[in-house]
Amino acid sequence: MASYIREFNEIEKPKDYYEGLIEGIEKLNGTYDAFNVINKSARTGFLFSTKANICVKGFETDAGSKMLKGYVPPFNATVADRMLAKKDFSFIGVTNMDEFGFGTFGINTEIPAKNAFDSEYVAGGSSSGSAVATAMIKYHVSVAESTGGSIAAPAALNGVVGFTPTYGSVSRYGLIDYANSLDKIGVMARSSEDARIVFDRIRGRDDYDTTCSVEKISSEKKSRIFVMDSMLSKADQKVRGAFERLLDRLSRDYSVEHVDSATMEKAIAPYYIIAMAEASTNLAKYTGYKYGAMSQDFYKQYNEFFTDAREGFGIEAKRRILLGTFIRSESVKDKYYAKALAIRSMIMHEMDRLLKDGYILSPTLPITAPKIADARKLSPVENYAMDLFTIPPNLGGFPHISFPYDYIDGMPLGAQLVTGHGNDYAILDFVKEWESSFNYTYKHNLGEL
């Protein structure tokens, strides 16, 4: 499939198309919890949704947290404004997510989204609802966000394309921030062409975000694919087997080269140090009186008031605030935070060097989708280890794309392709080429015409 957006625009729709589709979405959402809010008034254009940390005027945007329950933005994020600018896209709703983006499986929120292929399994996170909605609805794209793999991971587990652009190429004005030096807004779609259409719509300079500085996007095709052998050895056997078959297939057109990178393997700990340090400062602004969940007793003493108000944070958010605050303590900040920045620098240089000559390809996740009940049993450190492949490109702000490449026991597998800063079109082109010989399959096709 080249582009669902183009196909949709060329097909005559029945008069009651949107009414019927919205009814279908509401019904299916009862099982999968992809949407937190459904816009029942969508009546024109191609549907798009936004992750619940991207502000859309008039729609509750809670970032998956009780702390922001009831918060209705009085303004649009720049990406929402740009999607709505020409009236060819219509907003269908706000999608579920891990609280403030804290999760790999989508389970760190009150009511988690469920995998679109089997509701007993995790949807992936943190942009869980965006991926599930994209896998549920045929003519739909979602504007999502990634800090350490939050687009790639759920995209892989729900069999959709998840594109995370170069850091700084898409404005983050109106994004509820998690970690400013890592957050990136990207796209989930059913085809690479649709991801490109949306990327072109939302990217580019924005006076409201001074970090949005990357304007030139290239498409420099590479003929070499690098595979990190020692990292691949940490993936489970089923994933390794399927990935080896993918490499065999790609080796007809590309030079597949196995390399080792001791440096990239060390990315997880520094990533979490930086992410938690930044998150703990960003979450300090939730105080229970300006917006979001309101504390009721304004006559309590200052400290008691704030401590009561902040009870709304979930367990993972509390852990990350405590850890981030600890890491920033004067006595240990050089040991952890400064060291993490130095490792980030080292990893970026090493990846930059490799990516000048070729792409880096890996499985998106080291495992197939676990059941929700099994994922809940993992310790935080076991959870963080699942980000083995998604963290290096996110830590360095490199563009990457997860695309479906196989199905095991009826569940999709995703591979992740990484390229150098600003070469975003090259990986979109790569996946377009892949899609010409591999059909993605879905359990649901709501809105099919």
Partner: protein, 89 residues
């Protein structure tokens, strides 16, 4: 981590944990810090990258602009006499 240090963190972050959560979160925090200790063994040099891309520090024009939906802004807070109600000092 000593109880005293854990309590200090709770105090400065204005977080409260139930008795049941306390032992679990404290244990998790200790495990994660032990995991973070891995960074000490990495010889990474002195260069520190704060952002993945160069931030030009370009600011928008310093002009007064009106915010379109002031009422929408107020609806997210508890208001009294045109002011946002906050905690007692």
């Amino acid at each position: 981590m000593e109880d005293k240090e854990f309590d200090r963190l709770l105090k400065i972050t204005r977080l409260r944990v139930s008795d049941g959560e306390r032992s679990m979160i404290k244990k998790d925090v200790e495990q994660v810090i032990a995991y973070f200790d891995e960074v000490s063994a990495v010889d990474a040099g002195k260069e520190q990258e704060r952002y993945p891309a160069a931030i030009p520090g370009r600011f928008r024009e310093d002009v007064i602009s009106s915010f379109a939906d002031v009422d929408g802004l107020k609806r997210n807070s508890k208001m009294r006499n045109g002011y946002i109600v906050g905690p007692k000092l």
